[in-house]
């Protein structure tokens, strides 16, 4: 009905990723094509650190939806970003167990150290900071999620070391700690598989 003003031309994200696109679409049954919506958003966000409106429209086009529907879904979830986040997107859990382990102080530390407030990206695009809710790391609290990687039992010294590494554009291997029954280096417990 009404005529849309054409948007400035942007090379479609999936123009050179047709194989990947087909692979994602093929995961779902034909009648469930729309299920590919979240994976496609992930795909774009992973590459571009946010999902722009042009990409929202592209995904809508791929799935035969209105852009509004894609936006409605995307904005529902906490981890899709409208604006670019940093190369190191720091997500601090402040929910109860982490809070009891000092997460609020950790959050303040990051704000001061990086001169960022919740939701900001620094001008170089290196760091961004987001407060998030429970990450399921309550037994190894507090937790700092950097992009998709968890860093657990983040003490002040560990946090400093981590920031230093990222400032040098390296991301150390995460510490895989389990706590409880299955702490790899926990005192041997009955039934534990150490």
């Amino acid at each position: 009905m009404s005529s849309r003003q054409p948007l400035p031309t942007v090379t479609p994200f999936f123009a050179d990723k047709q194989e990947r696109l087909s692979e994602i679409l093929a995961r779902y049954p034909e009648y469930g094509r729309r299920s590919a919506l979240m994976p496609l958003l992930w795909e774009v966000q992973r590459a571009e650190r946010h999902v722009s409106e042009a990409r929202v429209e592209e995904i809508a086009e791929i799935l035969g939806l209105h852009a509004t529907e894609v936006k409605g879904v995307m904005s529902f979830y906490g981890t899709y970003h409208e604006h670019p986040v940093g190369r190191y997107h720091l997500q601090v859990c402040r929910t109860l167990s982490c809070s009891l382990a000092g997460a609020d102080t950790l959050a303040d530390f990051l704000e001061d150290e990086l001169d960022l407030v919740n939701g900001e990206t620094d001008p170089e695009g290196r760091f961004s900071l987001q407060y998030v809710e429970c990450l399921g790391s309550c037994g190894t609290a507090p937790v700092l999620q950097v992009n998709d990687t968890y860093f657990e039992r983040v003490s002040r010294s560990r946090c400093r070391a981590l920031l230093d590494a990222m400032r040098r554009d390296t991301l150390p291997e995460p510490t895989l700690e389990r706590g409880g029954d299955n702490e790899p280096n926990a005192p041997d417990q009955e039934g534990g598989a150490a």
Partner: protein
């Protein structure tokens, strides 16, 4: 099923919702998210009640209450939303106890914490469901001491609809509406939780049916932008009438204030438009208030006009008419005139003694099919073949077709009306697209919903229909013409034959051609379709059955214009847009034009009589299904404008004759005899009648149209008034020349360019719209009352570029 509501026992059908049980029992419960004709979702939590039901033992017997010996009622542990609860045998519903009242108070309080209490400046004030419910069910005070949520106010969702996000109470009616009714999800919730708001990324809400959300918004969040800040609900005169914008017979409510139409809302007619109207009907009324409206009769004086009284004008016409032989006089009226106006035109023609009488536009073939179907039949069809672009031509049918795809039959009505919560309706219901086949010469909107969609060449409908009929008769058919493999065509035919209620909807492209119309009838006969024929204007059926028709084909409207009439009386017709016709009209000895505006034709007239719009007259129309519906005048200041009965009254007085049809009442005396009922007594929802089929309808003396490879296409916005409907025009754009991207590129045309291009020799000023829905080599231009839907010759080579669209950054 036996249900007890607050002690009142009643018997209701299984499947009834508890909320309808409450209303059926004569009680009230507040609700915001439920909306008739839409899925119940239980979101607003206003309709909570305490509900219990008896339970059965494993052996099927009722568990009995030891003291009474009656089945024991087990109450649900929590209060239930009555809108999403189905009744059960023996259910007990309590909406009056203190617990329930407390919960209702609490829900009102929750709902109000973020709702601005700006009722005194809100358009919805006085007609607001939240305001009413807060008075009825709230405590009258709020304990919320914080700042309310601040969000965007006056947000233009489109040129037609303004959103105030602070007022939104998240009932989701509007969001559900777009998914469930037109099926275009152009509006959605954005964000979540306390930050949720409604929004769109589609510029201007691209759907033909956006305005309905302003009717169903329970608060003042979604407002008709054309009427915002113009009046309060209690200041309006509400006139329940029938739209004359198309032949659907859609119910509308015209809200007028101090003599001016401020807005049009949807009326409720369960058998026709339910409670939905398209944007053309809703927003297309602004022309009626145009400052250029003719308010007094005009008499030619030299090159100009002089305002005169009706008596003077009529006396002039009567005197001049006396100089003609009756048979040289032609009378033609537009096909949205009422039956009463038709009677008046007929009476005038009879009086002067002419057979040159017609209504236009009309097709050659009759609009009364051999085996007709009703709108309700369409809504309950299990196989539909749509020929043409129904979404634009008769939008109300588009929605009823989508009803049929959902497969939910129209609900039984309660004493309190349409069910508030029809539990058969769900969010995101599957649509049985295999029930729908759509055939059109370009990609029409309805094809998105169709299991089979065939794009035929321009004027290729007859060949396609003949080929399908051949398939139905097991004869050879060309697959290229069928547009599908023969096996698919055969399975379509099989599905149509096996359907219980197969219906064919025949649009203007087919009716424009006698051959195609005949082919459609043959195919219908071959597979058992009943037909719905789409008239080119509102009362085509009515004017046909009341015989506002010429005595001979050569005396039809085109014949009159072609020279068979020396004196012409034209009502709301503007043939002089065609320069060739204008040239002929200049030599017309007497030209009387009855119209709302000083049109090209009126400028050539000797006498111009001010006419009334469809909102300003009383009368009767017959919709496409043969439903007789009342048209009622809203209290609008139209100066001295009169409808055609008023014209005939004035002329009759000048003749010294009391003509039939000199008033609505006198016309109805005639109609009563002919129809067997008195239109005065029509119920507002109309009367469905078996129509007389006149096989020997006078066919058209078809003008030699150059059949080009382009098309005049229908539009829900009446092109003759689009220029005077500022909001609608802003939303839809001007009358469009639609072109395939390659054709546009080849001529350096861009969307938004303004051009003048000859259409069948008539220069038309159009706005270019590039669209891949248009086939290559085809131009689509809007049909008009003078040149209805059908093939056209668009001379792109003679196109004049008037103004380039602004470069998009």
């Amino acid at each position: 099923m036996k249900v007890t509501v607050n002690g009142t026992v009643l018997e209701l059908d299984p499947g009834t919702s508890a909320i309808d049980a409450v209303f059926a029992a004569g009680f009230d419960v507040p609700y915001f998210c439920s909306q008739p004709y839409m899925s119940p979702i239980g979101a607003c939590r206003m309709c909570l009640a305490r509900i219990g039901a008896p339970r059965k033992e494993r052996d099927g017997s009722w568990i009995l209450d030891e003291s009474s010996g009656e089945p024991k009622v087990f109450y649900f542990p929590a209060m239930m939303a009555t809108c999403t609860t189905a009744i059960m045998e023996g259910m007990v519903i309590d909406t009056l106890s203190k617990d329930v009242k407390d919960a209702q108070n609490a829900m009102v309080e929750f709902t109000l914490i973020n709702h601005p209490l700006d009722c005194p400046v809100c358009d919805k004030g006085g007609a607001c469901e939240l305001q009413d419910r807060a008075y009825e069910y709230g405590t009258g005070r709020s304990r919320f001491v914080f700042d309310k949520r601040h969000q965007e106010k006056h947000h233009p969702l489109s040129a037609l609809i303004t959103l105030d996000r602070e007022r939104c109470i998240h009932c989701k009616r509007c969001v559900r509406y777009f998914e469930e009714v037109p099926g275009d999800e152009v509006l959605d919730f954005i964000e979540r939780g306390g930050h949720t708001y409604i929004g769109t990324l589609e510029d201007g809400l691209p759907s033909n049916f956006t305005g309905n959300i302003t009717d169903i918004c329970p608060v003042g969040a979604l407002l008709d932008a054309t009427s915002r800040f113009r009046g309060r609900n209690w200041e309006y005169d509400h006139t329940f009438t029938t739209s004359l914008d198309d032949a659907s017979g859609s119910a509308i409510v015209v809200d007028a204030r101090t003599g001016r139409i401020e807005r049009i809302k949807s009326g409720l007619n369960p058998e026709v438009n339910k409670s939905w109207i398209d944007d053309g009907i809703r927003f297309g009324h602004e022309y009626a208030d145009d400052p250029e409206r003719l308010k007094r009769p005009l008499l030619r004086r030299g090159e100009g006009f002089e305002e005169v009284s009706w008596e003077e004008a009529a006396a002039f016409v009567a005197e001049r008419l006396a100089g003609f032989s009756g048979k040289d006089v032609g009378v033609a009226i537009r096909a949205d005139a009422t039956l009463e106006e038709g009677v008046a035109a007929r009476a005038l023609a009879q009086h002067v003694g002419t057979g040159q009488l017609d209504h236009a536009p009309r097709h050659g073939p009759s609009l009364v099919p051999l085996h007709g179907a009703t709108v309700l039949d369409v809504a309950t069809a299990d196989a539909l073949l749509v020929l043409g672009d129904v979404t634009e031509e008769l939008p109300a049918l588009d929605l009823r077709i989508k009803d049929a795809l959902k497969g939910v039959s129209p609900p039984e009505l309660f004493a309190h009306g349409v069910p508030i919560a029809d539990l058969r309706l769900k969010e995101r219901m599957p649509r049985a697209s295999e029930r729908l086949a759509v055939v059109a010469p370009y990609r029409v909107d309805l094809m998105k919903y169709a299991g089979a969609a065939v794009q035929v060449p321009v004027a290729g409908e007859a060949a396609w229909l003949q080929a399908m009929a051949a398939v139905a008769h097991a004869q050879p058919a060309d697959e290229a013409v069928l547009g599908m493999p023969r096996a698919e065509a055969e399975s379509l035919v099989r599905a149509w034959r096996e359907a219980q209620k197969p219906i064919m909807i025949v649009g203007g492209f087919v009716l424009a051609s006698e051959a195609a119309t005949e082919a459609a009838a043959s195919l219908a006969k071959a597979v058992g379709f009943r037909q719905v024929l789409v008239p080119p204007m509102a009362n085509g059926v009515g004017l046909e059955i009341t015989q506002v028709l010429p005595s001979h084909a050569r005396y039809d409207y085109q014949g009159m214009l072609g020279g068979s009439a020396k004196a012409l009386v034209l009502s709301n017709l503007n043939p002089a847009v065609d320069p060739a016709v204008a040239e002929r009209l200049r030599s017309c000895e007497l030209l009387v034009v009855h119209d709302l505006f000083l049109t090209e034709t009126a400028r050539l007239a000797h006498v111009v009589l001010p006419g009334t719009s469809g909102y300003e007259k009383d009368g009767t129309m017959v919709s496409l299904e043969g439903r007789f519906l009342p048209v009622r005048a809203a209290p609008v200041d139209a100066g001295e404008a009169r409808d055609l009965t008023g014209v005939v009254k004035a002329l009759g007085e000048a003749f010294g004759q009391r003509l039939e049809g000199r008033s609505v009442r006198s016309a109805r005396r005639v109609l009563r005899k002919e129809l067997g009922f008195d239109p005065t007594e029509l119920h507002r929802l109309g009367l469905l009648r078996e129509l007389p089929r006149r096989r020997a309808i006078v066919s058209l003396n078809v003008r030699e149209t150059v059949v080009g490879d382009s098309l005049r296409v229908p539009s829900l916005a009446r092109p003759e008034y689009l220029g005077r409907n500022a909001h609608l025009r802003a939303a839809l754009g001007g009358p469009a020349l639609r072109l395939h991207p390659e054709d546009a590129a080849a001529r350096g045309l861009r969307t938004g360019d303004e051009v003048v291009v000859p259409v069948d020799g008539v220069p038309r000023r159009l706005e270019v719209r590039v669209s891949d829905a248009v086939p290559r080599g085809v131009s689509l231009v809007p049909a008009t009352p003078e040149a209805p839907a059908g093939p056209a010759a668009v001379a792109l080579d003679d196109l004049v570029h008037e103004r380039r669209a602004l470069e998009v950054a």
